[in-house]
Symmetry: C2
Subunit: 331 residues, 2 copies
């Protein structure tokens, strides 16, 4: 039973997608409660007259300026829905915030209300990546351009706190590198690997290269935010390219359309698994506040997945488990 | 008319794949000459009694130790075919070396015979990446774990020397980053971007994220070796995953096999374009010696592509054009 604050304004698609997605989610999950934050006029025209019993709407008169700078956000209050949602989270009126706003904005607001754990110097973005099997956890997907050994160990601790809740004992973990041999890669990675060998409650698999991420044989992959972003975007680009090559051949003439019809039925189960929308919802980890970042271009399917992630995070007490794991690093 | 030294021993597949691939290449291209370097017994059993007129074979009695350490290689001579090929290159008996050996080994041997240009502190690996359109040039794919602004400018100069030969005036170039906005990313990237804005003979497109690499709208993408490797491996992993999901559905029952038959015919032209084997052959750039690195798991198609790359490099005088471009950076 989680109480979730939903930001209706963030992201490229806005309230016209996010309102129906949110309503559908809370209708399907009457055990959870949604508090939707939006800007009056637009949202009110899109909301049904009778909201479901577990949904309330909070009208805000203002929204964040377009392309607001995180630094500005630290100095000013804009009385936006997202800021009100964070305030409700800090005041413990809600259990989590879900937003499709830019990472920088979400991090800046996090900074306003909470101090990151000293073992990580800023919030860390934990993502779920579709693979040939189940989605796996990968981090950092945030703003770390490179990572020291200490940061990598912090990322590992954060990821482990999450996956040991779902995967049970001895989750498997690997560091992303440019080769699998022990002598490969930068000093920071080799130092982190040396340490991880001595963590007794994990199955440390050493280094992997980025292609192995998608085989789904691991529970957790640790890397810096710059590389993590490159891996995810590269996979998205390749998937787009392959699927559009496929689509192009399956329309136009009758044989193509016929092939497309049969193929679509057969491939659906596979492609549902690979669909990044269903793994949407990244956790801003490292503070006591549960904030879930949805993709900016999230459609209704993707946004519901992000809300689902928030309920998982609340139920699993992820943020507190993470802080406990991080405490072990600085003892 | 290039004279190419071919290392038959490097790579996972060895002479049984590399000999037929080399013979086929030089039969198809009688204007070029191949000097094949291999270890006597095995190669002689695989070579035809009558070699084509433009192919000679050089027998070496020894080969490199398995998993030879680049540091060892700098201290010892193993009298292997690859070392003989490099010697022939340094002595100007051949125009280029083609090998499927590990990058570290090729770099160590480069170090034995040539000094990298002072604008780059080590050889840089230039690769060709398949995209929705033509393959594009991307670098570094080598051993740079991160790159300073100066190194990034060196990579840009190297790439430009190559693409301006094939693409003509004002080739388009972008830096790989974790966002496209000007304020995104590490300091080194922003410094390099500031400089590139003032390069008059290029079409500088600022930052791209990794998904844009595969759209093929650019001539050249510049990044460090760690990120570059992650992008390539991630794309390979995703392509494998998608194609194996597809194949799995197109075998087994009769309908699947029938769909597979028609689909295969339709998709072949698309998939040939995406096939990384056809973009095989990376250039070890930054010295006067032309060395082409083939993928370690190169089959006959891929290895022929690498030999083709070597002839392009020789014909276009890439290595000298690169040194000229790098000279401009340190004036």
């Amino acid at each position: 039973m989680a109480v979730l604050a939903i930001d209706l304004q963030g992201g490229d698609l806005g309230p016209s997608q996010l309102i129906p997605a949110s309503l559908r989610y809370f209708q399907k999950h009457p055990e959870h409660t949604g508090v939707l934050y939006g800007q009056s006029d637009l949202c009110i025209s899109l909301l049904p007259r009778n909201l479901p019993a577990n949904v309330t709407y909070k009208a805000c008169t203002q929204s964040l300026p377009v392309n607001v700078n995180p630094a500005q956000l630290l100095r000013h209050q804009y009385h936006s829905g997202l800021e009100a949602a964070y305030q409700a989270l800090a005041d413990e009126q809600v259990d989590a915030v879900v937003s499709a706003e830019h990472t920088g904005v979400l991090m800046a607001l996090m900074h306003r209300h909470a101090v990151p754990h000293p073992a990580v110097d800023r919030p860390v973005l934990v993502s779920w990546v579709p693979t040939a099997r189940d989605p796996i956890v990968m981090l950092d997907l945030g703003a770390s351009f490179s990572a020291s050994a200490e940061q990598l160990l912090g990322f590992a601790a954060i990821g482990l706190a999450i996956v040991e809740e779902s995967k049970g004992a001895s989750p498997s973990l690997a560091l992303l590198n440019l080769g699998v041999e022990a002598n490969k890669g930068p000093h920071s990675l080799r130092l982190a690997a040396e340490q991880l060998k001595h963590w007794s409650d994990i199955d440390f698999r050493g280094y992997i290269e980025a292609n192995e991420v998608f085989q789904g044989r691991l529970d957790l992959v640790v890397t810096d935010g710059f590389t993590g972003n490159a891996v995810i975007k590269s996979a998205e680009g390749t998937l787009d390219l392959t699927l559009s090559a496929l689509k192009q051949q399956l329309q136009g003439d009758w044989l193509g359309r016929l092939l497309g019809y049969f193929l679509n039925r057969r491939l659906k189960p596979q492609f549902i698994r690979l669909d990044p929308r269903r793994s949407n919802g990244a956790l801003l980890a490292g503070s006591p506040l549960t904030v879930i970042k949805s993709h900016g271009d999230a459609d209704a399917v993707a946004f519901q997945a992000a809300i689902g992630r928030a309920t998982e995070a609340v139920r699993g007490r992820w943020c507190h488990r993470i802080l406990d794991r991080l405490d072990l690093l600085i003892r």
